[in-house]
Each structure stands twice: as C-alpha cells, then as structure tokens.
C-alpha cells in the first residue's frame, strides 16, 4: 500500500476532499502544518523591531491507499490544486506502507482500507 502525504493550501482542502470522496476515497487524516517551498520568508513586526517568520499555514492531507489506487489519488489532488497557479500550490510525497490494521476489526492491509466489513 502507499501513503500519500499532500501538503496543500487550506482553501483547497474542501475541494480535494470532495473530489476524493467522489472517487471513493473516504478515509483520510489531516493536520495543520507550516511550511515553505523554494520561496523566501516574510518579515514580521515586534513592537519597535522586526523579526522574520517564513512559514505559512498549510494542510497536510495523509491518505493510505492500495498500491493500485495511488496514482489516481495523486492525480486528483494535483488536478484540483493546480488550478491555483500562484506559488505555494503544494507538494505530494508518496511512500510505502508495509502494513495497515483496522483496530476495530483487526482486519489487515487492503481489507482494512475498504468499507466492506462495515455493513
């Protein structure tokens, strides 16, 4: 199975989520991160001086899918977020997951990633 970590803009989360849902990818995990790409930083103000903060808020969307599906997921994310031509559109990292366990049922791997046992 593959783990896809997509670092995207907050504004795009809803659209990405909906698109993934439409394609049948329901399970996912998100969290707030800060980051920067190849761009520079921003200088912020502190009373009479200044300081530099160069990270912007982003959303990390982490989704684990069967190997066969991962390209589809990547494509969906790229498709949606690319609309936004400005900088900071985001990055995706794909890595390998050895094992997945659904805690509730103890199912493993691909079975743990599908909704089948739920009914």
């Amino acid at each position: 199975m593959k783990k896809i970590e997509a670092i995207i803009k907050e504004e795009n989360l809803d659209a990405v989520k909906d698109a993934l849902e439409a394609a049948g990818f329901i399970g996912m995990t998100v969290y707030s991160v800060k980051g920067r790409g190849m761009g520079g930083g921003i200088t912020l103000e502190w009373r009479a001086g200044t300081y530099k903060v160069d990270f912007l808020h982003k959303i990390m969307l982490m989704i684990v899918v069967p190997e066969s599906d991962y390209q589809k997921v990547v494509d969906i994310i790229v498709e949606i977020c690319r609309a936004d031509v400005a900088s900071g559109a985001g990055k995706i990292f794909v890595s390998t997951v050895d094992e997945v366990i659904r805690i509730r049922t103890g199912e493993r791997n691909e079975a743990a990633l599908t909704g089948s046992s739920r009914a």
Partner: protein
C-alpha cells in the same frame, strides 16, 4: 448638577467604550485565523481615530450650533466652549463635557460596525480613510438631524432613544452598500469560510451585552427611572431575541452558539431606539421580531450572493429598521412622558415620522456610502491583492500572526 447623574453617565461612557473593541472580538471570532487580528484591528483603530476626529471637529459638526437644521457649526472645534457647565438642552444635570464624552462612544462604535462588511480583504489604510470620511460625512450629519439642537428630524418629532436609526440603520445600510463596491473574497460561494473561534465571538457578545446597558441606560443621561426602565427592556429584548434565534435554528438544525450570540446582539439592536419608550411585553415582541427579521435577511442576503461578510445589514440595519418602526408602534407616554404615544395608542403621526426617519437614514447612508466607497476604490484602492488575501491580512497588513504556533 447632580453627582448621581454624573456618576451614571460616566460609568455608561466607560461601558460603551468597551463595546467597540467588543465588536472587534465578536467579528474577529467569525473570520479565518489568518484574518483574526486584522478584523479586531479594524474596530480598535476606529476607537483610536474617531476619538480624535470627535474631539477635534466631529462633536462640533454633530451637536454644535445649528446651521440650517442640517449640520452643526465648527464653533466647538477642539471642544472650544464645551466645558464643565451643563448644556441646558442636551443634558441639564451633567457637565457638557460628560455629554460630549457619552456621544463620542456612539460616534466611535458606528464605523466599527460597518467593518464587518470589509473583513478578510480590505486594505487597512483604505479602511482608515473610509472611516474618517464616513464618520464626517454620514454619521455627523445624521446625528445632527436626529439629536442635535435644531436638527430637522428632531424637530419633526422622530424618536430614537439610543441610536437605532442613527447608529444601526446607517451602519447596516452602509455595510450592504460597501459590500456592493468592494470585491468579494476569493472563492466566495465555493469555499467554506469557517469561523475560527466561536469562543471569541461569544466573549465579544458577552461584552456587548454588558456594554449595551451603558448604551441604552446611559441614554437617559441621568440616573433615573427611565434609565432603569431602559436597561430592563434592553435585557428582556436581548433574551427574547436570543431565545427566538435558538428556537428557529433548532427547528432547522441545532441550537448553535453562533446563532444565539447573533440573536443576542440582534435583540439589543432592535430595542435600542425603543428601550426608553416601551413597556415589558412590547420589549419581548421587539426582541422576537428582531430575531425573525435578521434571520430572514441573512437568508436573503445569502440568496442575493452578496459578500456582505458578517451580515451587518441583516443584524444591524434590518433589526434597527424594525426597532425604529416598532418604536412608532409601541411607544407610550405612560412609560416615558418625554416620549410620545405610538400606533398602538392611537397616534398615527409618530408612526409616520418614524417611517420617514427610517427612509431618510436608508437613502442618505446608501447614497453617501456608495460615493465614499467608490471614490476610495477608484483612487486608493479598497481591497488587497489576491496574494495578500491568501496569505491573510494579519501578515500582509499588520506583519503579525494572531497566535504564534509552528
């Protein structure tokens, strides 16, 4: 002079002072985190700038010696001639300066209310320009007409106990108008702009409720039975409106905290023009009516697809309109001999005058706001660029973030 009256009016002024930043907190909780500071800052900067405008010339324009029933003269520039001695017409038992101070807080809060239409994409500098022009060209004349000695609406007999027309209608209508001039937020209609902190909004509404006692109770300008009465009707209308909002939202979904906070403020707005003139049961009706009015108007505004971001028009303009009209219906001389009887007590005249004053406030505010906003938009620019909007106004306009957190 009466020390009890002075104590009460001073205290009321303190309470109202708190309201302007409270508007900032109320609004601040409703925007996204990246615009939180900038939203509070809009209100806070009004407090700073209009305080100075008011003591320099705003008070004089509003309450100074009347010129043709339309505006006050500049005789009281820099509070020249405004001193410890009471002004017999405005408030006979407290120093003239105390009346000036009390009115200052009204002048300050009004543009802060409008800021809700601008949040999340306004240029900070443009808003500063806007507020000074708006306060001078819209608020000051309007205050003169309604409350200034010689003002023409005052002469007509219009009632506005604590500013339903002068403050809430003008600011609400201005907000709607401004929203038609300033561009929408990026992604409007597509993106969900989740409010970042309902707790902050709730804190704001708590402080608003608290401050509104000074707003409405202080408008009696004395520590007397009318002040007491005004505070009670204020409290009752706020409760009735909040409860109504809770019930409406329960029926369609669940009794949300954001809704109850909004309902509270709407009730306070609706009772503002009426609080010193109407009885307890009318106060309940006014509160309920305020909630129904504003709730429907939010839906309407949504349907119109206008990005009047924080619904100032629905919550202030329309609740204020309802309150002004309701004053013409429920006002009673039995409650306040200095007031007048309304429709319910057989007096059609007051009702018509109230309607007239509402129309005047609508038309005047809409026209002037359009001109001011358009002028700024064409010259200086009203809104930030898209990149700045995306980074957020906190960073792009103020160089800061609300919370430091990696």
């Amino acid at each position: 002079m009466n020390t009890g009256d002075i104590a009460w009016v001073l205290m009321s002024s303190c309470l109202i002072m708190l309201m302007t930043p409270a508007v900032g907190l109320f609004y601040g909780g409703m925007v996204r985190r990246k615009n939180l500071l900038s939203t509070i800052m809009l209100s806070f900067s009004v407090l700073i700038v209009i305080t100075l405008q008011w003591v320099l010339f705003g008070y004089s324009l509003s309450f100074g010696p009347d010129k043709g029933h339309l505006i006050g003269g500049l005789e009281w520039f820099a509070l020249n001639g405004v001193g410890e001695m009471p002004h017999a017409v405005y408030a006979a038992t407290i120093p003239h300066m105390a009346f000036m101070m009390f009115q200052m807080k009204f002048a300050v809060i009004t543009p802060a209310l409008i800021s809700g239409a601008f949040v999340e994409r306004v240029r900070f500098s443009a808003f500063l320009i806007f507020m000074v022009l708006w306060s001078t060209l819209v608020y000051d004349p309007m205050a003169h007409w309604m409350w200034g000695e010689g003002g023409w609406l005052r002469n007509l007999g219009a009632l506005d106990f604590a500013g339903g027309t002068v403050i809430h209608i003008t600011s609400g209508v201005a907000a709607l108008t401004a929203a038609l001039v300033i561009r929408k937020r990026k992604g409007y209609g597509r993106i969900n702009y989740e409010p970042y902190s309902i707790v902050l909004t709730l804190l704001g509404s708590i402080l608003l409720w608290f401050g509104w006692f000074g707003f409405n109770g202080g408008s009696a300008l004395a520590a007397n039975g009318v002040a007491v009465h005004a505070i009670i009707t204020t409290n009752v209308a706020a409760a009735a409106s909040a409860l109504t909002w809770m019930i409406i939202s329960w029926r369609s979904h669940r009794p949300g905290v954001m809704g109850v906070a909004t309902g509270t403020v709407v009730g306070l707005v609706a009772i503002t023009p009426a609080c010193g003139y109407v009885g307890i049961l009318p106060a309940i009706i006014i509160g309920i009516g305020g909630a129904l009015t504003s709730y429907s108007c939010i839906l309407l505004r949504n349907k119109w697809n206008i990005d009047e971001t924080l619904d100032v028009w629905a919550c202030h303009g329309m609740a204020g309109t309802w309150g002004a009209i309701a004053t013409g219906i429920f006002a009673s001389k039995a409650i306040n001999p200095n007031g007048a009887d309304g429709l319910m007590y057989g007096n059609v005249n007051l009702f018509l005058v109230q309607l007239a004053s509402v129309v005047v406030a609508w038309v005047f505010s809409a026209a002037m706001t359009f001109l001011i906003a358009k002028a700024i938009s064409k010259t200086w620019g009203l809104s930030v660029g898209e990149a700045e909007e995306e980074v957020g106004l906190d960073i792009s306009q103020h160089g800061e973030e609300a919370y430091a957190s990696v």
